[in-house]
């Protein structure tokens, strides 16, 4: 790229610095190992507050894109962010930094689980954690749903409830439910104004 102050999308980079590949890798290693229960707050702290690679606004836009795309959000974010600053190699090192350490840690945990999973105490601890994790997920859903249900009538709640029933009650495969509902929901959003 001839003009280093611009990203390949043509938008000026207002943020101060441009990370090297090894900086990208190290940043995402730190984000991944500190990100208990979701890596987003850590990614923001590292990228916006500490390194100033992106403004808050740019971060929000990149993350909104990562949430909208299918698949794991933080994984998408590492690719979107890495490719913006380093093309394909940047995306690869950011992804490797994000997934490498957790992979190793979780494999060790899996080995421990296969050896001690039948131990009564461990099994009870895990069940307690799973029950709490289910509760946290309910809280996430409630927070997401709150704004949708206070607005005047719209298609949102109907679509959300239909997706819930299809997957949770009728046990339909996710791809069917998605292909059935997403176009309807997008059409409602298209014609809404």
């Amino acid at each position: 790229m001839s003009d280093s102050t611009r990203s390949h999308t043509g938008t000026p980079l207002s943020a101060a610095a441009r990370p090297s590949l090894s900086e990208l890798f190290r940043a995402f290693v730190i984000v991944s190992v500190s990100g208990f229960g979701g890596a987003l707050p850590w990614a923001r702290r590292k990228i916006v507050d500490q390194k100033r690679w992106m403004t808050s606004q740019e971060f929000n836009e990149a993350f909104a894109l990562s949430q909208f795309l299918p698949g794991p959000n933080v994984v998408n974010f590492s690719v979107v962010f890495g490719s913006r600053f380093g093309g394909a190699p940047g995306a690869a090192v950011a992804l490797a930094g994000l997934m490498g350490p957790p992979l190793i840690i979780v494999i060790v945990l899996a080995i421990l689980y296969s050896r001690f999973g039948d131990v009564e105490a461990l099994s009870r601890i895990l069940t307690g954690i799973a029950a709490a994790a289910a509760g946290l997920l309910i809280a996430v859903v409630a927070k997401m749903a709150a704004p949708m249900f206070v607005k005047r009538w719209n298609s949102g709640p109907v679509i959300a409830i239909a997706a819930f029933i299809g997957v949770a009650i009728l046990h339909w495969p996710l791809p069917w439910v998605f292909v059935g509902l997403a176009p309807v929901s997008i059409a409602f959003a298209w014609f809404k104004r």
Binding site: T9, S32, S34, G37, A39, S66, Q67, P70, G71, P72, N73, V75, V80, S83, R84, L98, M99, P101, L103, I105, V106, I107, Y113, G117, S123, L126, G128, I129, A130, A131, A132, A133, A134, G135, L137, I138, A139, V140, V141, A142, M144, M148, P157, V158, I159, I161, A162, A163, F164, G166, A168, H171, L174, F178, A182, S185, I186, A187, A189, W190
Partner: protein, 175 residues
């Protein structure tokens, strides 16, 4: 159909990754359906255990696919499942990221963004339901879930404290 577990893992998770709007949390019911109901790789309790391990591990929660893959086919299974879950969606992210900014004001982009929110909300709600059913075998566990939901909704407490409390209650209680 083939009977190689690695091919099965790769096929299922690659497909799943492309429909999981809302990330790891939206994909839980489909993983549960395949791993427990369709393929009988594990029982309900093992699935809930793996979810718990993925939650308390650092890093993205999608790491549960690594655990499922490892359970089915060892290290190779772990690698294949993780690669299948991340590969297709990473390619999509890579190519979309290059063009997305150009369509910032486009009506179709806004409609797609707004239209997918309720779908992913319903999917994450289904995840919460499936997990609660897997984890809550008795009134004790159900109480933990209910109290956690209230605390999580009303406060911004670090989830690690909640997991620690849940684990301790599990150890001391009658789960």
């Amino acid at each position: 159909m083939n009977d190689s577990p690695l091919l099965t893992l790769a096929g299922y998770f690659a497909l799943l990754s492309l429909f999981a709007v809302g990330g790891a949390n939206a994909a839980i019911p489909e993983m549960h359906r395949i791993a427990v109901d369709v393929m009988h790789w594990m029982n309900d309790r093992q699935f809930a255990d793996m979810f718990a391990i993925a939650q308390v591990s650092p890093g993205p929660n999608i790491i549960i696919v690594t655990l499922i893959g490892n359970h089915v086919a060892g290290f190779a299974g772990a690698a294949v499942a993780t690669g299948a879950m991340c590969g297709p969606t990473c390619l999509v992210a890579f190519f979309v990221a290059r063009t997305w900014d150009r369509f910032k004001e486009a009506r179709w982009r806004m409609a797609m963004q707004a239209g997918l929110v309720p779908v992913s909300l319903g999917l994450i709600g289904a995840s919460a339901f499936v997990l609660a059913r897997s984890a809550d075998h008795n009134i004790y566990a159900a109480t933990i879930t209910a109290v956690t939901a209230l605390v999580g909704f009303a406060t911004r407490i670090n989830p690690l404290w909640i997991f620690a409390a849940g684990g301790l209650l599990g150890l001391s209680g009658r789960l």
